[in-house]
Symmetry: C2
DNA sequence: TACATCCATAACTTCCCAGTTATGGATCTT
DNA sequence: AAGATCCATAACTGGGAAGTTATGGATGTA
């Protein structure tokens, strides 16, 4: 069930897509048009990225008339935080084990 | 100087490569042969992944005779932790601003 | 109604990258 | 010295994904 980090890493690996997500985090809800304006790519490309972000649970969309508003869902980053924490944890655990060993050797 | 997260995300996006890094975190230093044995891919593929991990600063290598030992460098994950923290921070900051606004409207 | 705007999807092209096999240098073994 | 083992690099192939243009549905506006 470690599939969550995989999708998150894959989704955030693309710079354009990550930039869109960052903008949504910084500036809050945005329409597709607003995001397209300063993205450097075409509108369909932005829509596709937003689709990927949505599938990864990183954004929400809200329809209002003919425009769609997207907003970030930072909670979706939790599996990423967990993963990094786990990696650091393994490291620490092995350090502790080494520490123990050294203490036992010391006496 | 936000190039660090980019390289990290790109490097960790590949499942095989991330699995190698995870094993190094969990079990500590490993030779290329040991990593290849349970990786599901060929030895050259593993070498290539290790090269990518090394270039991203995620692993160290140590030569000993004809074998090369690789070990994880969890400190390299710091830019990732910073990035996620920053995203969550933006979110929180906007929540606080909203809170302020509501308070001012309330009185 | 007719036209314009906003967004999503389809169809296509291009390019990057993960994987392979082949090979060679370096080191250990006999 | 000869053979075997470990690893890295080169050369190549295939698949996927990010980008484009074209288009259409839905909604707002004249």
């Amino acid at each position: 069930m470690s599939a969550a980090p995989d999708l998150l890493f894959r989704t955030l690996a693309d710079p354009t897509r990550r930039a869109i997500f960052e903008r949504l985090c910084r500036e809050g809800e945005q329409t597709v048009g607003a995001l397209t304006a300063r993205s450097g790519v075409s509108q369909p490309a932005v829509s596709k990225h937003l689709g990927a972000l949505k599938q990864a649970g990183l954004v929400r969309d809200r329809h209002e008339g003919r425009q769609t508003h997207y907003s970030a869902r930072p909670g979706a980053l939790n599996p990423l935080i967990d993963w990094t924490g786990r990696m650091a944890g393994f490291w620490q655990k092995r350090l502790d084990a080494l520490d123990d060993l050294l203490k036992r050797m010391d006496q």
